[in-house]
């Protein structure tokens, strides 16, 4: 079976079933925003949501993650986490799935990151395709992530009275197998899916004023652009943009002692290039002192460096950095300003 369908009235039944197989995390409302949370009651889940405050990243790359315990006398270390639990990320947007694919590239690069890989191994991803823009901040179309591009186990698409499910892995297959209310999709369903995708083309338009390859070339040439000075002048270095980014993966490693002063825990905690001391080294030298240079670095880490290294853009188009920015620095505007400058230069 490649495609299955489930009636909307049966959805809750299915989610109950999923809950029994593994720990279930899904988007739910928090005040006027949304967050991924462990789900107790299936009615808490909301399928129509603006990207959550933090991406599901927090489940496979936690904010503060225990690495190992240690003892000083006699010296001993042991893994902090011995067993990782199975979990399902439910109703993940395609942009956030792209984020997981980026993390995969990073943490699988040698030396591999065992904590990430263990968590990834236990993860099942059930995505949901957006049929309209979440809000004005997203740039998923330019990044090509407004449509599913793999990286999931199941993908749900709303066909009106039912959801069509693309089964993309054995794990996914197991979650729909043997359930009376989930049937194989017929020709009509497939036609409907095609129609939905056709309709999407009218809604989703590229947000950047040029193709991605052109964006890449522009970044290559405009390191000294005044666009960065402007961005730097507005930035307050609160670090919101990097904290909410699904592809930012920098961390700091710290030791935390217990009061015995003989035992402790080593853990890693999210860190970011936006912080004042991030590029400061012994002797007090700071390689990226200004907020302009730090913001530029963040952009180059999305549109230039990973393309050179992994042949992959590290912006997913989720729009979180723009949405959360205290200073209204907009990713789309920044990129388009660079493109405009490039146009002027010609």
């Amino acid at each position: 079976m490649k495609y299955a369908v489930i009636k909307k009235e049966d959805l809750n039944k299915w989610v109950e079933h999923l809950k029994k197989t593994a720990r279930l995390y899904a988007p739910k409302k928090k005040e006027n925003q949304f967050i991924f949370r462990p789900i107790k009651d299936v009615n808490e889940i909301t399928l129509k949501y603006i990207p959550t405050i933090l991406p599901p990243k927090k489940y496979y790359y936690p904010q503060k993650e225990k690495l190992f315990r240690f003892k000083i006398k006699p010296f001993k270390t042991a893994k902090a986490i011995k067993a990782f639990e199975e979990y399902i990320l439910f109703a993940v947007h395609t942009c956030d799935i792209a984020g997981i694919q980026c993390m995969d590239v990073i943490f699988r690069e040698g030396p591999e990151d065992p904590n990430y890989l263990n968590r990834k191994d236990k993860m099942t991803i059930i995505g949901i395709e957006c049929l309209e823009y979440c809000d004005k901040y997203a740039n998923c179309t330019s990044m090509g992530n407004h449509v599913p591009r793999g990286g999931y186990d199941l993908m749900m698409v709303d066909l009106g009275e039912k959801f069509i499910l693309h089964i993309n892995s054995e794990k996914g297959e197991r979650l729909v197998h043997g359930l009376a209310y989930i049937k194989e999709a017929d020709e009509k369903d497939m036609l409907n899916l095609e129609r939905v995708r056709e309709a999407k083309k009218k809604v989703f338009k590229e947000e950047f004023n040029a193709s991605l390859i052109k964006v890449y070339e522009t970044f290559d040439k405009h390191f000294a652009s005044k666009v960065w000075q402007d961005v730097g002048r507005r930035c307050v270095a609160c670090g919101n943009c990097t904290n909410v980014c699904p592809t930012c993966y920098c961390f700091d490693v710290m030791d935390e002692m217990e009061l015995s002063l003989n035992q402790g825990m080593r853990y890693r905690i999210w860190n970011s290039c936006q912080m004042d001391d991030f590029a400061k080294v012994a002797g007090g030298e700071d390689f990226r002192k200004g907020r302009d240079g730090r913001q530029r670095h963040r952009y180059y880490r999305k549109f230039k460096y990973p393309v050179d290294k992994f042949n992959r853009y590290f912006c997913t188009g989720c729009g979180r950095c723009t949405r959360t920015c205290m200073a209204q620095i907009s990713l789309v505007e920044t990129v388009n300003s660079l493109l405009a400058e490039e146009g002027e230069l010609r």
């Binding site: 503060k64 270095a237 002692m257 009061l259 002063l261 001391d277």
Partner: protein
């Protein structure tokens, strides 16, 4: 194994509400754990003995009189380690509000005709007068950070106070940003380390930990305008805790 003597710890308060000492005393079982590592010889709020032999001195409160200056210098001579405890000691705290008006006017306002009998100077954080080895920011102090600092002292290593904004911790806690709810907050420019304690509990950031080393004044102005706040209003917020160290930003903002 020879049993090493425990370092002796004393607490001294200057101009403050003694709320940080109270926080310390309220630690519960953890306080007992701490007493296994140190001998508390002087702590007015929890004991009547007043030992004058100590190695580690926790200083609460700002320096606001000539007598304070003399007293803190004497403590500095005795103590190997001086810890500034709480906002009044680390940044001047609310006592700094006094510095907004000329000293003579402030004295008149508070003491009226008795003003000549009172000795008072501008409010200062402890490190303006003597060298301070460890800083525990906050109003009140945040206990997990206190424990962390105590461990650092006992292990003889420095404690590095975070130099990034409260926003960083707040985002990690996945709070809905207060600005999103049209409520102001000083998290953007305030030094982290409190795990966004106030915002986690539905309050706003008052800036009690002081500003980060390099606050973005221009950027902050834009933010305030974006959310329709008046400069005078925000100055009040900024200076509630940060007057004695914040004059510079005060000027720049104006």
């Amino acid at each position: 194994m020879k049993k090493q003597s425990k370092p002796k710890v004393a607490f001294f308060d200057f101009t403050d509400c003694e709320g940080c000492q109270l926080q310390f005393a309220n630690m519960g079982v953890t306080l007992l754990e701490i007493t296994k590592l140190v001998d508390i010889v002087n702590f007015r709020e929890v004991m009547s003995e007043q030992g004058e032999d100590y190695e580690i001195a926790f200083i609460e409160g700002s320096i606001t009189s000539d007598n304070d200056v003399m007293r803190i210098k004497k403590i500095r001579e005795k103590a190997k380690v001086i810890v500034s405890l709480g906002a009044c000691a680390t940044i001047g705290g609310v006592n700094g509000i006094k510095n907004r008006t000329p000293l003579e006017i402030a004295k008149q306002r508070v003491y009226g005709e008795k003003k000549e009998t009172v000795n008072t100077i501008i409010a200062m954080p402890v490190h303006k007068v003597v060298k301070v080895d460890y800083f525990i920011h906050g109003c009140p102090i945040y206990i997990p950070e206190v424990i962390n600092v105590i461990e650092c002292i006992l292990m003889g290593k420095p404690y590095v106070v975070p130099n990034y904004a409260v926003c960083t911790e707040c985002k990690m806690n996945e709070n809905v940003c207060r600005y999103e709810k049209d409520e102001e907050c000083l998290g953007t420019v305030t030094r982290a380390g409190c795990n966004s304690w106030c915002i986690n509990n539905g309050n706003r950031c008052y800036g009690c930990r002081g500003l980060v080393d390099n606050p973005a004044v221009d950027g902050q102005k834009d933010i305030l305008l974006k959310y329709g706040l008046k400069l005078e209003d925000i100055l009040k917020h900024f200076t509630l805790y940060n007057d004695s160290v914040g004059e510079k930003y005060d000027k720049e903002l104006k």
